[in-house]
């Protein structure tokens, strides 16, 4: 019963400005920190590929079921994001420890030969993110004070 309301000059100006800005919409990445690795570069994939992340993909439970290599990939290439945080948590659940001095993850390979208040000594597996692989280090001194 109210009928139409003619748009006045100001409304038409608003629409014109809206229409022009419609052609350069903000992109979600505009509201996020620059991603040095893996920026959002959506590229068209086959339509029958899954277009959405699987349900629950943002839960710790899901991350815990990822392989260790995948977790390292996420940790080092998606830094500063929730994905990195969840990967770190999942790695800890797999007994990996982040050592801030080397900025690497270490996992005990065997019972340490020597344990004191400050450190433990033994053989460790560590993940070398520069050469991108797991390596064994014998006689390594694991200092607690650098434990993240």
């Amino acid at each position: 019963p109210l009928g139409r309301q003619p748009l006045n000059k100001e409304h038409l100006y608003h629409l014109a400005m809206l229409d022009s800005s419609y052609h350069h919409l903000p992109h979600p990445s505009d509201s996020e920190r620059l991603r040095h690795y893996l920026p959002r570069n959506p590229c068209p994939t086959a339509a029958y590929y899954p277009q959405l992340a699987p349900p629950g993909a943002d839960t710790l439970d899901f991350f815990q079921r990822l392989s260790t290599e995948t977790l390292f990939f996420i940790f080092y290439y998606m830094e500063g994001t929730k994905a990195q945080y969840l990967a770190a948590k999942a790695l800890k659940k797999q007994s990996w420890r982040f050592h801030t001095k080397y900025m690497m993850w270490f996992q005990r390979h065997e019972e340490p030969k020597k344990i004191t208040e400050e450190y433990e000594q033994g053989t460790y597996i560590y993940f070398d993110y520069e050469k991108w692989g797991q390596r064994k280090k014998e006689g390594f001194t694991f200092e607690y004070r650098f434990l993240e």
Binding site: P1, M17, D30, R33, P39
Partner: protein, 517 residues
Amino acid sequence: FDDPPGLHEKTEFLLREWVNMYHSPAAGRDSTKAFSMFVGQMHQQGILKTDDLITRFFRLSTEMCVDLCYRALNEQTHSPTLIRAKCFHTLDAFVRLISLLVKHSGDSTNSVTKINLLNKVLGIVAGVLLQDHEVRNTEFQQLPYHRIFIMLFIELNAPEQVLDGINFQILTAFCNTFHILRPRKAPGFAYAWLELISHRVFIGRMLAITPQQRGWGMYAQLLIDLIKFLSPFLRNADLTKAAQLLYKGTLRVLLVLLHDFPEFLCDYHYLFCDVIPPNCIQMRNLILSAFPRNMRLPDPFTPNLKVDMLSDITHPPRIVTNFTNMIQPASFKKDLDSYLKSRAPVTFLSDLRSNLQVSNEPGTRYSIPLINALVLYVGTQAITYIHSKGQTPSMSTIAHSSHMDIFQNLAVDLDTEGRYLFLNAIANQLRYPNSHTHYFSCTLLYLFAEANTEAIQEQITRVLLERLIVNRPHPWGLLITFIELIKNPSFNFWNHEFVHCAPEIHKLFESVARSCT
């Protein structure tokens, strides 16, 4: 006034210096090392000497950043990602400088200087934006401004002690700025604006983290700004693609609010209904469908649901709006109160319609906020009156009172347009189980039962029906009212001519009835 000679060059030099320092590995964590060196340079260059110079420095810096972006955006050869990386390279550095200056201005416990500086910078960026918007018109680009605002907001909401202490003032500063840049002021910035106020960090701070819901009023104001911008286009229900996208974006944001902060929509529903065009059914239904999370809604389709036995209907909903003040002029309010109390002056009812009429233009004859306020005020007075007699609202207790006099007068005396707005004002109160929903549900049914012409009954039915045939959600109070109307034989609903006026209308009623019963 003109910038002092050399200031432009000096600013350009400093800005370039800072961007390089920000990106160098030696910048230190959060650029703190770079910052302490750079502040030294600012001092050397005399930038920090006076407030005016600081202001000019920020304005010139902002303009330089913006110009850089326009140049990059006009380079057609690069991909959007590369263009953005190029713009953000400078913008992010500029934002970092602003946030560090804000955090370190004045001594650590003095929040006034920090917030003053923040307001100054936000004001400068807003000023540059508005001028750019006006000058470049349809060539205006939102990117640099959007990036500055969002990254500055994220930086100033990092979990740091000095920021925690002034967080509410930071939020207030940003809300003020976003209000100044509201879509009706800068329509070319509308998409970025909605992106800003719906960002998860912004919503989180305004509606979830800030204690005592202190951010709710400011956030409501921003939503009202948005709806007021959309309103003329929604009003005619033929949206251009651009307006349709903004409307859809708005629905997404409202859905998030309905899911995460229903109490917020409940508290501010009155203000939102005041600015949503009456014929914008779905968005209004979405807001009216919100109910407090601790409330369990009985299934409205339960056979023989005894609404008046529900304990919730004795409690009024929380309304943060002072709708009483919206009843103007004061003389009208005085007469209203006097009539409610003693049904005098007798001329009140006959004058009522002219008090509500503001023009002779069809479609805008009446003041919608005044009708809304009048209806809610009379209704709440009625509820108080009924409770004062130790009764609860029902079809019998709401009758034969000065309150119902007013409602019946409006139903009879208003023309179709006025009556539509009046019935909408009532239907806007049909929400979750509370004393308003119950009272106004009874009132609407009472007006239907007591109507002396079928036109009134038809229009009541239309108002309910148009709210039911749109996609969900549908407010609980709307459903139980319509179900009562079609099921309760005392209303004789199915025997009215307008139910059978056309086969498809009859079919429509039957399908809605089927879905409701």
